[in-house]
Amino acid sequence: MTISEEKLSAFLDGEVSEDEGRAIEAALADDPDLQASLEALMAADALAKRDFAAMAEEPVPLALATAIQNAPDGAPANISTPPRSGWVIAASVAVALAIGGGTGFLLGQNSPTQVAQTGGWLADIADYHAVYARQVRHLVEVPADEADHIQTWLTGTLGADVRIPDLSVHGLTFQGARLLVAAGRPVAQLVYTDADAVVVALCQIGTDTPQKAFAEQTIDAFDMVTWGGTDSNFVVVTDEGRTDLTAIAETAARQV
């Protein structure tokens, strides 16, 4: 029986009948060329799976997640496709927001003031948390072992002193940092995880009018505790309903 290469591919996918499968296995045992063809297809498939997996790990543009989260309920079922120019504008904002290839925000290509004009910075932080707390391989932009660089980089970007508090007393391990944009301003996001890999983020934004006292609130099911420092406002955020979030905030506040 002559085995076509297409059938070989289908064999790889388990899409041949039992009889065909037996015939292919028998042919493979006797035909080194056929075996080599199968191995080449398997290698190609493994390559595709690897590339597709990498694609799914790319960070999602915040603008996209926000658009979905803010979509009105019962939106018209018949969407009229916007003109291409509209798509291009939307895309340029998304690109400005995209954190791709570990390069972080593509700041400088578009003014960050185009984004996050409503709802204050905490709503944006909640949106970020919804997206990034689920990242595994790309949880942070700069890893914890570059702590010195993180502090220099984010201090320079925010125009406010950024320090990395030790929160190990709460079982939290510093994983690294991201630069975000919220309410049109740069935000330092320091990312911590607990023993169960649940993310707790400490975010800092420079301000001339820092908040005076600690405050707890919940936005989009994310618990937050906010406070103000010398020239910054801070928030710790998590989505797991921790009972010690205020204590974490107090520990952080003593060190920042």
Binding site: A44, A75, I79
Partner: protein
């Protein structure tokens, strides 16, 4: 219902973007398509059968939206009403240059044309059977088999000659 649907769609975003990119072969267009897909799903939340996987429902919405867009463009470009699979739109960025230019993942699959890439993704990664993929893409099962094989052969050729295709990571 809508809040739950939005949350689940946001969770699906990485896979929706990937499927959209396999269809459009362009990152900006993919994100537009994902957004339209999610808005359409939210608008039709009452049609969401929660006994069925949300991803498959969303993929179907996305595929239908994309085919509709392709047909509209074909008409605008003066090709008349052609079958979507025959439209130039599905063949214009076979080199994946648009994706590479945007600095996203530079991969071997970027060099696959849409009709091969999307079917390969559905079957090899998303777990569709050939029959399910045939239903999703509205093509015969034999065409599914043929496209998957051509996709793998194209990738295999790239592996044996890295210059003949996309860049490595």
């Amino acid at each position: 219902m809508s809040t739950e649907l939005k949350r689940d769609l946001i969770t699906l975003l990485p896979r929706l973007r990937r499927f959209a990119r396999s269809l459009t072969r362009s990152v900006p267009e993919a994100d537009d398509l994902v957004q339209d897909t999610c808005l359409r799903a939210i608008g039709r939340a009452d049609q969401w059968d929660r006994s069925q996987p949300l991803d498959r429902w969303a993929f179907r919405i996305m595929r239908n939206l994309w085919i509709s867009e392709v047909r509209k463009r074909a008409v605008r470009l003066g090709q008349g009403h052609v079958p979507a699979e025959d439209s130039d739109e599905l063949r214009t960025t076979e080199t994946g240059e648009a994706m590479v230019a945007l600095g996203e993942v530079q991969s071997h699959i970027a060099a696959l044309p849409s009709d091969l890439c999307s079917v390969l993704l559905a079957v090899s990664v998303e777990g569709y059977s050939y029959a399910e993929a045939a239903d999703l893409f509205d093509i015969p099962i034999g065409t599914v088999m043929s496209r998957i094989h051509r996709a793998r052969k194209t990738l295999a050729a790239q592996m044996s000659d890295p210059k003949d295709g996309a860049h490595d990571h």
